[in-house]
Assembly symmetry: C3
Homo-oligomer: 642 residues x 3
Amino acid sequence: MLGVCYYPEHWPESRWSVDAHRMRELGLTHVRIGEFAWSRLEPSRDRFTFDWLDRAIDVLHKAGLKIVLGTPTATPPKWLIDAHPDILPYDEQGHVRGFGSRRHYSFSSGTWWRESARIVEIVARRYGDHPGVVGWQTDNEYGCHSTTVSWGPEDRRAFRQWLRRRYQTPERLNEAWGAVFWSMEVNSFDEVELPNQAVTEVNPAARLDFQRFCSDQVAAYDRMQVDILRAHAPGRFITHNFMGFITDFDHFQVGANLDFASWDSYPIGFVERFPFTDAERALWAETSHPDIAPFHHDLYRGVGHGRFWVMEQQPGPVNWAPWNPVPKPGMVRLWTWEALAHGADVVSYFRWRQAPFAQEQMHAGLNLPGLDEWSVGGREAGQTADELAALGPLPDTCRSPVALVYDYATAWTTAIQPQGKDFCYEELVLRWYEAVRRLGLDIDVVPPGASLAGYALVLVPSLIHVTPAALTAFATATAPVLYGPRTGSRDDTFRIPDTLPPGPLAGLTGNRVTQVASLRPGLAVPVEGTVSGTAIRWREHLTTTGTVLARFADGDPAFTATNGHHCLAAWPDEALLSAVMHHMAGVAGLPVVDLPAHVRLRRRGDLTFAFNYGTEDWLVPTQGTLLLGSNLLKPQEVSIWR
Amino acid sequence: MLGVCYYPEHWPESRWSVDAHRMRELGLTHVRIGEFAWSRLEPSRDRFTFDWLDRAIDVLHKAGLKIVLGTPTATPPKWLIDAHPDILPYDEQGHVRGFGSRRHYSFSSGTWWRESARIVEIVARRYGDHPGVVGWQTDNEYGCHSTTVSWGPEDRRAFRQWLRRRYQTPERLNEAWGAVFWSMEVNSFDEVELPNQAVTEVNPAARLDFQRFCSDQVAAYDRMQVDILRAHAPGRFITHNFMGFITDFDHFQVGANLDFASWDSYPIGFVERFPFTDAERALWAETSHPDIAPFHHDLYRGVGHGRFWVMEQQPGPVNWAPWNPVPKPGMVRLWTWEALAHGADVVSYFRWRQAPFAQEQMHAGLNLPGLDEWSVGGREAGQTADELAALGPLPDTCRSPVALVYDYATAWTTAIQPQGKDFCYEELVLRWYEAVRRLGLDIDVVPPGASLAGYALVLVPSLIHVTPAALTAFATATAPVLYGPRTGSRDDTFRIPDTLPPGPLAGLTGNRVTQVASLRPGLAVPVEGTVSGTAIRWREHLTTTGTVLARFADGDPAFTATNGHHCLAAWPDEALLSAVMHHMAGVAGLPVVDLPAHVRLRRRGDLTFAFNYGTEDWLVPTQGTLLLGSNLLKPQEVSIWR
Amino acid sequence: MLGVCYYPEHWPESRWSVDAHRMRELGLTHVRIGEFAWSRLEPSRDRFTFDWLDRAIDVLHKAGLKIVLGTPTATPPKWLIDAHPDILPYDEQGHVRGFGSRRHYSFSSGTWWRESARIVEIVARRYGDHPGVVGWQTDNEYGCHSTTVSWGPEDRRAFRQWLRRRYQTPERLNEAWGAVFWSMEVNSFDEVELPNQAVTEVNPAARLDFQRFCSDQVAAYDRMQVDILRAHAPGRFITHNFMGFITDFDHFQVGANLDFASWDSYPIGFVERFPFTDAERALWAETSHPDIAPFHHDLYRGVGHGRFWVMEQQPGPVNWAPWNPVPKPGMVRLWTWEALAHGADVVSYFRWRQAPFAQEQMHAGLNLPGLDEWSVGGREAGQTADELAALGPLPDTCRSPVALVYDYATAWTTAIQPQGKDFCYEELVLRWYEAVRRLGLDIDVVPPGASLAGYALVLVPSLIHVTPAALTAFATATAPVLYGPRTGSRDDTFRIPDTLPPGPLAGLTGNRVTQVASLRPGLAVPVEGTVSGTAIRWREHLTTTGTVLARFADGDPAFTATNGHHCLAAWPDEALLSAVMHHMAGVAGLPVVDLPAHVRLRRRGDLTFAFNYGTEDWLVPTQGTLLLGSNLLKPQEVSIWR
């Protein structure tokens, strides 16, 4: 199903009805509203002006649209900030991050929790049982604009409380952090400072605890909103719209609060955000890279317990990337079908109509700025809606053959201690994901500790700390498992394990890592054996009791196997990565299709989808029944067959 | 005529007379003094020590020099700052910008206005009718070192007043800014914050208003000084020495206060400041690019109502660029003749003698550091003075065939919302200017709304907001007009026009822009037709009722014409830009000369000047009477013919 | 002799004895302890817990190890900072640099001097006459993490005092700084601000005085510690462990307090810190550049009055560079022998055992993390100890044939006023050093003003201010002297000399510099004559009464000589630099060996050492008696012969 994000407060009331009917006409079924409207709902303290929203909801509902209502906490109004400046967040240099845009609050402000609970309850009580409101969105894009972490007095206060709960005594804190180093021991929790503004590098265990604390604060804040909504909006679903490439809180943890996950998909903008090469950025500038959105679909399907929406789908050029090209014709349709192929229940475009004013005036909508006239994206949305209607209900999404274990704590840990400037966990994960999808395989993204039963192949690009639950899952996996560099290299308190890395995995893998090297650009180590290629960026020196499948040029093991537990002791270049994934697919008994860089496949139930991101045709290798498109998959085209 | 900047306070009184006579001997007629001397005029509150300046002025006057006296407000002394720290400006991060160099004041400080008026009046009363003081310079280089904008409490106070005057009610402010977006509405002007230190992007209309406010403050402050000077210095001219490549206040607006404009010409230093490629920077490192100084001459002739001076002319290597090479022999003379060719009344070198101490000790003068001995630049100044004397009075400057519409507000708007990281208005303008001068054509730089009568060709590289006055000027122009990208894309409140871009120009051009794309390096779109080349950086998608002169590769219009109103819907590469300018010159009926990259022509009255910036000779294509130089224009040489 | 850095406080007491015996077993004789242990010695105000350190010292002493005890002032504990936040330093933007790592103190805090004196005296009284404690280290790595300079209120107060002592009256300060420029004159010392946070460039004489003040503060602080230690630890040596590539205080000045110098040698990490090209960084990533550590050995031998230790020797990969590769096998041994060849008395590895926790957990030790098991570096240290024992006592270090004059004030001056963005004094010095060592010559690094008697060749890469003592040394030198660019270009108050550069050297050199040019990348000036090559980055225009040995392309002198006083008026490229050094060696009558880029020689007494940093063998050109290694010097190998 398709939906759209709509801001009735941006347009004269006389246009609402026209808009609602054109939404239906286009084939949309859902509409999200309200998440930035606080100043229109409560223009000053306790003066409430909900009447316009009542009418807007009625107009949309009467037109047959299902409404998702956002809590308005992403934009506390000026009168509230002026009355309670302790709401504001602080940056790492200790400056207040002020009013003037959005997300200007600290998750640790006590005032902010009270004010959030107050407005959420008021909104929830008013619309909780409205028949048109089928679900709720908490806040908007937690963590966007680096707002997970704040460095102010309220944050310090809350962090000290969190530490007190975690460690009970200063002695245990000192022990956990190894605070004897550089005389950093404290005599009380009130002596603990936030890990910023020190003369040089701060204790990594302290930084990790601060990151855990910040992540916990997001989850607890979300839980507070969810609890209020559940109390007053019975039977309605609750979701949150996550942002891609935001890793500074644990999305699985917030996902546990929700009925399902949703996310905001801006495939082209993300091309500039991910550390692609300039050549890749130019290549994918007008289509996005073929794994950027899919990876997130698979991630949020995992965060959402198997269900997800795209709450905001890019419908044309956006405004916030360093460059903002126009998507190639067909891409808005392609992205929509792709989200559905990965299991999306609803794809909701952002936004209905381009706003001619304010910060996002250069962000396309389904309609041209200020007008009742379809944009290119609007026309493609309509075409997709028609095709979707013709196709009928989509089958359920099945378990994928491949599980990729994704761990937010590993993102934090490697950012705190990269050891090599270009060791970027998100990049490693996406490169592994890309290599597997180039083999035509579908992937589920799962958190560490989740059951791995039923998968044919398990990939662990890196997992710094292997928890007991994760160890159990690996030990009981029947599929072959591939562990990447740095796996098992730290314990729960950021210590190197007593047995050296891979710590708890020593038994399963037979390995022991005695040294690691980060390799600057220009340094590379050839790897030869069952697989071959080159190690770049990172290389481990290890001994193994297992089988050595490939060796570095100096003879040391590079790729090992012990009873199905495989270790890759390097950051692989493209050739080595591809060879390793081919090898693992062979071990797993998975048939593969070697796809060109610009084509991807994806199954949903008994349907197979193919997508062409490139400039050359691709011959679909199927004997199945084509339901959409043709066997000759043209650029920016979609084919679906059963 | 030639002049020099002189600091009697830097040298023992015994040397003043020697200096004055050597100035005359060199052929100089004017001397500027006094603009940094506050601590020597009033070393502590109300203790005045003007006697030395009295004597210095007398010595210079008696030697036959005409004196330009600067008000000393660019350098408030320490005792004043200590007594009134509210004078100090703030940077965008909220830090005070302290004492220790110059321009350490905010244009919005109430104290500062009172103190400025006080010292200006004292100086003006003392020297207003001195026969040797022929004119005045207000302050020094407004805006230099990013001092137009300040972000402190005094600035916030004044900005709120400015908004109150502009909008009367908070409701109108909210409406103008589209403040409903992200709940940014205010209930009173006292709730408005400066547009800095927000969590993410700030409202662009707010930023534009803040920029307008800052620009207005500069003009009003200058006006305050001008009013005092006019009251006490009857019959003397008043000017200000602007700096090139400073666009954060409207120079035309300040120019309106003045009798004529002057500017400080540092051609080599600017090579590092303008976004040239590294290859261009190496090519022009020792001569400057041949359009850098000329563009500014033409700009300030426009700012100065047809008259301008070079108040500070680079006489050798300077101290403030990342690299400071020695100009090639001949360049000081070349730059001087070039300024005169573009209409300068006086070219005044900065400075008489290199100071062996303090911040600018590596800045060359006409004399070597601390010595009575000509530098290379001093010798070239003397040669130029001799040649100038031989040539006799220069004819008046005539109207040029080409008008280039230059708009400070477009510089602000595109900086606030670049949409593509490399969309730089100043760069676009200079590239258009360069392309036209490569055809041997002279250019007048005019503000939007100025009459375009009498021009053969009008160029509008970009003009984001087309005011009614500008529209009238375009509509009544008899010459062909060429509009560049983004023209007409916003209204007065930074909104996209209801009719889409080009807004008010829709009628004249027949165009309607539905989408725009910014193109990262590596993306480019071929253009073919009457002209051909490549679109880079920016491309518009438009429909037209006019003639399509060239199309993008996908068939969309790239270059259109309707009754002489031409639109270029792209940022052109060098080939496309050159082709378009050739085409426009043809339409305008202007004969052109294809000049090599290193040669430029310029007329003043019935004289034609040629300048060679390069390393190869150039054969002057003239049958006229040579007054200076030869028909074979050698590197770094000047030829003048009638 | 060999030693190690050890942290008994990091390990259970039960392991101390095992560690001590394994140290002896490896062949170590010295152990440094205690420099970061304050929180374990005084966990809260006046609660002292020295018993553990008593026992640790006894265990080490009884095992036969000689102990170097560090004063614990590099890591003031949290309780002290909370009680006295005025101890904390400030960064240049005015932010407090807080607790959380180390070196969180300002050298100008009055409280901090009292507290430092207190703890140093307590420690010195307790262990001053312990028979196991043979020497002391003051603090740890002064200046590391940019901690020489602090910008807080305590610093401003102390700077004003320092200025009052230096200048007596504000008038003399104003005169010395040329403060008339830009009206910067002060009426009292209390009006002086720190030279930060001004609107633009600050007075360079003020900046130089501030740098001198900061350097003096370090030396005075160190002297305070030294005086206490001398009073309570009779007969024990006192040293400090300097860090390489830290130039913001005068190491010779601190060295004057000490019995000898020591330094912390991290050859690989420094490859990323020095401005090498990317190609050089890749080439030397796993070995270091062959002159990085040697230059510092020679420097600290000079700082230490002919004696030095390596107090911390890199034993494997470290944690703090952008990339941290594993050293090639053999490099830990090579670096150790190389330090000894350059005259080190003791080479002490950092650290005994890799810590599995806290900031430096990725820093290798002689033992694997947390284990009693040799790392690669541990094994190489053992091999070296065995070889050293076999070789017997090393001869004394002799005077080298070449003296290189190194001047911290020139580093400050050129950083304050680079004039060309890539004029980096440290780089110039290292390139000269490299060029001479490529000729097989040994070098002593000496401060300006030191006697140059007995040297065959004197090199002065640059010496901005030539003091009377330096002038005397040059004038009385019997060896040829080579002066590099900018020598003699400023006087004591940062003024250009009245006679123009080279100021006091005008007489000796016959030269007069009238202009200088800094050259951006892409600009270069050919040089031809007795030597040939290219000038890059910097070029001087001079006249000379001496012999012109080579000229720039325009005919101006580039390389001159007058009675043995040679001047190179440029930053030379590699070819020109090599040619000049060959020429100078010829003039000096020094026989040279042209070494490949990866090989270096060094003599100690009658021994000659050869080191191979590269990937190709090198045939040792000797008829002497081989004591270690072979005539075919293999990669990463060492040969020693008599």
